[in-house]
Symmetry: C2
Subunit: 251 residues, 2 copies
C-alpha cells in the first residue's frame, strides 16, 4: 500500500469499476477507519447506509439521475447527518435533546462529510476507486423514501466504490494561490480572475466542452447547462423542505 | 512516513502544539494535496484562510470562545464555502451565475469540508497534529468580520495545526454496527440503544464527566451543559442570518 503523499497528488475520480467484488471485511475496515475522523463532542451524529443489493441500487438510481455508477459499482455508500440515534439515547436517559434546529443539522452534516472523505482516502489507499455523487442534496427527499430514513436523518453525500476499471486523465485544478488567502480574504480583481482561470479555459477539453454545448465561454457551460439557476432554486426549496420535514428547522 | 491504515486507526485530536514552526513549503504541499479532493463539477467552490499572525489569532480567538488552540497553534486554517470567486469569473465571461441559493451553499460547504479533511489526513501522515473547531458555524458572523469575507463566502470549519506536544488517550467510538445500516435504515430500539451506548457510559472518564457536572446521566451532560437547546436555537438563527447576508438564501 502506498503512502498518502504518493496517493493524494495522483488521485482521480473513478466512474468505471471491475466486476471484482469488494470484500466485506475490507469494507468494514475502511468504515472503521472513517469513524476515527473528528466528530463534534464525540457525538458521532452520522450514519452510513450500505447499498450492495442490485434491486436496491436500481431503486436508488433515479434519485441520482440514473448515473450509471450507482448500478455498476459493487458498493454504494450514503452518508447521512443523523441525530435520531443520539436523540433516542438522550430520551432513554432522562435528557431532553435540543437538536431539532439548523445548527444541529450543520453539525451532523459536517460529521458525516469528514467520515465520508476519510473512508474515501482509506479506500483509495487500498487501490479502490471512488466517485462522489452531488445529486444527494438535490434528491434527498427521494433518497429518504428509498432508504427509509426516519426523522432526524438527512442524506448529505453518496459515494460509489469499487475496483477501478479505468484510469482517466487527471482533471485540472486551480493554482493553489487562487484558493488560499493569507490572514484576511484578498478579494479577486478582474486581473486575478483572468490569471487564475486562464489555464483552465485554455485546455483543449474545456474548449471541446464549450463547442459541444454551443456556448461562447466555459463559464456559460456551467451557468446555462450544468448548474442552472432554475434547477438550483428548485432543489434549494426541496432541500429546505427536507430539513423541515426531518425535524431540523425548529426555531 | 507511515501508511494510511497505520495512521487512521491510531489517530487522535491534538490540542497542544510544540513551538516548532510549520514550514511554508510543507503547508503548501498539504493544501495542494487537499485540493485534489473531489469537488462538484470541478468548480472548487471553496477558499482557505491561513492565519499565522499572532495579532490576527488573538483577534480570531473570541470567535472560537477563546479555545487556546487558536492562539497556541502555529497555523489556523479556516475553510470556507466560496462562490464569490466562481461568480466573478462567470460575470467576467458573460455568464449569469445562479448560485445565490441554499443548494449552492451546501455544494460549496461540502467541497470545503472534503478539502479540510484531506488536508488533515495529509497533515497527520506527516506527523502533524490537528484539531477541528466546531465553533465556526456558531460564530460565522464574527469570523466573517475578522477575516473580511465578502458576500458569497461563509466559513464552515476551522482547523488548528502544529507539531504535537501531547499524546492524549485515544477517545472511544461507538461500535461500527451502531453506525452502519444495510440496504435500508434499521431504526434503533431501546434495546439496541442500550447495547450501543453501554460501553461509552461505562467508561471511567464518562462517569467522571457526569459527576463533575452534577448530572444523573452522560446524556444530560450533552443536553444540559455542552450542547444546550437554547444555544443551538440562538446560533441557528445567527447562522441562517449569515447565509442570508452572504447571499445564499434567494428563492
Amino acid at each position: 500500500m502506498a503512502e498518502i503523499s504518493d496517493i493524494l497528488p495522483d488521485r482521480r475520480t473513478i466512474r468505471k469499476y471491475s466486476s471484482e467484488p469488494v470484500d466485506d471485511k475490507l469494507l468494514s475496515d475502511l468504515l472503521m477507519m472513517g469513524c476515527r475522523a473528528s466528530t463534534t463532542g464525540n457525538m458521532q451524529v452520522y450514519s452510513i447506509i450500505i447499498t450492495r443489493d442490485e434491486e436496491k441500487k436500481r431503486e436508488l438510481a433515479p434519485s441520482h439521475f440514473n448515473q450509471k455508477m450507482i448500478t455498476e459499482a459493487p458498493v454504494v455508500l450514503t452518508f447521512c447527518a443523523d441525530f435520531n440515534r443520539f436523540n433516542k439515547w438522550c430520551r432513554l436517559r432522562n435528557a431532553k435533546p435540543g437538536y431539532d434546529n439548523f445548527l444541529s443539522f450543520m453539525t451532523a452534516a459536517i460529521d458525516a462529510l469528514l467520515v465520508a472523505q476519510t473512508v474515501c482516502i482509506a479506500a483509495e489507499s487500498k487501490g479502490l476507486g471512488i466517485c462522489y455523487l452531488g445529486t444527494t442534496t438535490y434528491m434527498a427527499h427521494k433518497i429518504i423514501e428509498v432508504l427509509k430514513l426516519p426523522k432526524g436523518v438527512v442524506p448529505v453525500t453518496t459515494v460509489t466504490l469499487g475496483w477501478p476499471a479505468e484510469k482517466p486523465e487527471q482533471v485540472d485544478r486551480l493554482h493553489l494561490e487562487a484558493i488560499i488567502h493569507k490572514e484576511t480574504y484578498c478579494d479577486y480583481t478582474d486581473e486575478s480572475i483572468e490569471m487564475y482561470y486562464e489555464g483552465k479555459e485554455g485546455r483543449s477539453d474545456s474548449q471541446q466542452f464549450v463547442n459541444e454545448n454551443n456556448k461562447e465561454t466555459l463559464a456559460q457551460v456551467f451557468t446555462d447547462v450544468r448548474y442552472k439557476k432554475s434547477d438550483n432554486i428548485y432543489f434549494s426549496k426541496m432541500l429546505l423542505q427536507v430539513l423541515n420535514d426531518q425535524g431540523f428547522m425548529e426555531q
